[in-house]
Symmetry: C2
Subunit: 505 residues, 2 copies
């Protein structure tokens, strides 16, 4: 245990066990915990809390940056600790309880959680549990691989528990840029004009008196579970790269494009990998999460700088980052998610936003969250923060799922997260639909022609044409609009039995 | 014809007839025209264009701020001039053609149109037609009762036609504050910190060489067609006022609240009238349109200042404004709609946004635009600009329409404009549902208990409970989700035949 990591000497006496620290959390409390897409989450105290709850039951509201690693959500769910959870999760066990209505899950735009805390719309955070690489002389915290909502949790909580993770090198200090907006009425513009600009401090300010416990850990972040690129994600990447090359040729973008955002997960990661081969230069990212692809683009020199709220990578990339932190620290910055995802900045900078759709419909409405319209998958995350205000709002999906039994393009999405107003470009491995400046009927023709798998194309075109005969700005055959989802629920496939569904147009 | 209104003497020779000016518009052009919710629209040239098109057919794309008065959209539709129309309209004749698929209507967030023009996502404006009260010494234009997108149209067009409206007093000069963001890469924060701040110029800059024609008119704006408050809108206003009074008591707001935005139309106008009786003081508005209610609150002293992009009022209020312009000019400001509706400012200032829903569902998703899910009514307007980033996003509706045959609260909206993520408070005459911090199932119980008309409450509760038995974060009985809309289409009523639908809970 390296006590030198606690540079505020008066705080060294607060070092304790995770078990003792977990006792600070009482039944009914709201707990704000670090962690954003598996990065920089707390490793010891939540596990100790779950352990304790088996003897001494308690319920809490848990707020994080985004998803957690280390099966924390699973452990807390199994110990029946979670009454409410926000704003994002990816855990199978927790997801089941959410969909059974046993845990209240508030699915939020990731930029909005701390605004709602600050406004009093949500009950305030009682206890903050924050992973840090070190505590500075003034008691302030050096975050680890994410910033998330940590700075606001610390500001609001009356009790702060710090987990010092010794596996994170002390050289990480300086990677972060902590800026929090003031309350309304006094608030100034966020002074950020470029992705690589620093506008705040490198550490999270804390009143040292609030630090009630410090726990030492050594465990690395859970590695990313994004899958490697495959033939279909390569095709999706190819469509996007060619489209952006066309924008450069048309003079609407330069070869440095505009700052890029890519959502979490396999497809978005694969799409960025595809930029490695393209004729772009001096790219920058202004995103919420950096995955392997971003680090690869940095290493190859295509990407000049990347700003985000977390770094979620595979184990080898994680180790390379930690081993060369001083090198990467000049090319990366991690910010509070309220800043990485700020609508103000997304519009000012003119972000090119690439996010994943679960399904989309013929008019370009996107479902990012609800399988079959009812079952929560993960949450909307930051996709709405970016899509609404982006220079270009791109959504990607494979054209089919479940071996072809699900078409990702449907007559009407069974749940809407992004309305057609916020969707400029749709891409599947089949092709890209550029929807800018089109009315809904024009959008439908282009989506059906370019994005739908050929084996579903005819059925969708038939639906659309029959809908048009009924009329409307956004024509639908209302009694059939959700029939594809119903058919999948009833028969295990969206395909019509007996129809010649394998015909290729 | 008062040529003194053209203070740039060199431009006086460009005065001509509307008919001659209309000749400047060629087939296939994109025309950007002033006008926002009937205010400050052009009166003579569009009518002359429609007249000409009867002999000499042509098609254009017409972009405005928002809706127009003087039956302009009707005249242009009847003359078959409109190929494409954006971003908003309210005309019955045009609406019919849109819903028949004969005019391509692009329904947009009102803050986004000029951003898309600037980015090249939309074809550039060829000709701008702008109503002005005067032309200044440097050729710049003094707008009339709206700003809308006029400054950007003028910037982009190579040909500018000005309609000088002599019925608007010259004393209107100074009412406006014209600020346009720079292109991306060079863009600074919008420096506005308070609703009453002025950050730009009082006139719209133009290169005088682009002014190809000046036409004189004398016609006032078409008066607002908002209906007077009634018993139900009074009840809605009462619920909102009591809710906000509760927020003041809880210490989350002061008695000056935060800047108010109210959508266009009867209900939003009536809600603001209700603020006249409430225990608030020194209110300010940061809205897109000011209606009669805003002027009444100004006159009574409740409202200290109002910022918007247009003023759309009844004839007596219009006359009072024009007759006392020097007085009102100090308490009002009109801005480009990109600034009045800027997401950056809506979040920074912490707007309380009150907008009208066509229908909403038990989870709080809102349909603002599509009757029966398919037929366009008016457009999304600025509701999304405000709802997404507001301090409080409030949507209002009467609980029923068509004499009770339509419930405004349905199992699933047949078209989504605002997802549950962007909706904090729902209000009907029956009551108010405060949805802050609630998970979807909790939202449903509160909406059904508080907002639904008693004669539909039992049926909705029954739907919700059966849906919950199927499970999910957002439970639905998919095959019944749109059945209420289908029933209305088939039978003229959402009520189930034979069911005891008049039971009052």
């Amino acid at each position: 245990m390296d006590l030198e990591r606690i540079r505020h000497a008066g705080l060294r006496s607060r070092v304790t066990s995770a078990r003792t620290a977990a006792q600070l959390i009482k039944n009914g409390m709201t707990v704000g915990m670090s962690g954003f897409t598996r990065a920089g989450d707390c490793k010891a105290v939540p596990a100790a809390l779950a352990e304790r709850a088996r003897q001494d039951p308690l319920k809490i509201t848990l707020i994080t940056g985004a998803s957690l690693g280390h099966d924390t959500d699973k452990l807390l769910t199994q110990a029946d600790v979670l009454a409410r959870r926000l704003p994002f999760q990816v855990d199978t066990t927790l997801r089941r309880k959410i969909n059974q209505g046993e845990v209240c899950f508030i699915d939020q735009h990731l930029s909005e959680t701390v605004e709602q805390l600050r406004s009093g719309h949500l009950k305030p955070v009682d206890v903050a549990i924050i992973e840090a690489a070190a505590i500075a002389e003034d008691g302030s915290l050096v975050p680890t691989m994410s910033v998330g909502n940590s700075a606001s949790f610390v500001e609001q909580a009356s009790v702060v528990i710090v987990e010092i993770n010794e596996s994170v090198p002390a050289s990480i200090e300086g990677l972060h840029d902590i800026y929090l907006p003031d309350v309304r009425g006094l608030r100034q513009p966020i002074p950020l004009l470029k992705a690589d600009q620093r506008i705040g401090s490198t550490t999270i300010a804390v009143d040292p008196a609030k630090i009630a416990a410090i726990v030492y850990t050594r465990e690395p972040d859970s590695p990313s579970n994004a899958l490697p690129p495959d033939a279909e994600t390569d095709q999706i990447a190819g469509h996007i790269v060619r489209f952006l090359e066309g924008e450069v040729q048309a003079g609407r973008l330069t070869r440095s494009l505009l700052p890029l955002q890519a959502g979490i997960g396999t497809i978005a990661n694969a799409v960025l990998h595809g930029f490695g081969e393209a004729d772009f230069e001096n790219l920058v990212m202004y995103s919420e999460v950096l995955q392997d692809s971003a680090i690869a683009l940095l290493d190859s020199g295509k990407l000049a700088f990347a700003s985000a709220s977390s770094i979620t990578v595979s184990q080898p990339v994680y180790e390379r980052l930690l081993d060369n932190m001083a090198h990467y620290r000049d090319r990366l910055v991690l910010r509070p998610q309220e800043i990485s995802n700020a609508p103000e900045l997304v519009r000012r900078l003119g972000i090119i936003a690439i996010n994943t759709a679960l399904e989309f419909d013929i008019y370009g409405n996107v479902n990012s969250t609800h399988v079959g319209g009812t079952q929560m998958m993960n949450g909307i995350g930051g996709s709405g923060d970016f899509a609404r205000n982006a220079h270009l709002s791109i959504f990607v999906s494979k054209s089919m799922a479940k071996g072809g039994d699900i078409s990702s393009v449907v007559p009407m999405v069974a749940h809407v997260d992004h309305t057609e107003h916020d969707v400029d470009i749709l891409v599947t491995e089949c092709g890209l639909a550029d929807l800018r400046g089109l009315a809904p009927r024009e959008r439908a023709r282009r989506i059906i022609a370019n994005c739908v798998h050929p084996s579903y194309r005819e059925a969708l075109l038939d639906y659309f044409e029959r809908a048009c005969r009924r009329g409307g700005q956004t024509p639908h055959v209302l009694e059939e609009a959700l029939a594809w989802h119903q058919r999948y629920e009833a028969s295990g496939s969206m395909r019509t039995p007996g129809a010649s569904t394998r015909r290729v147009a």
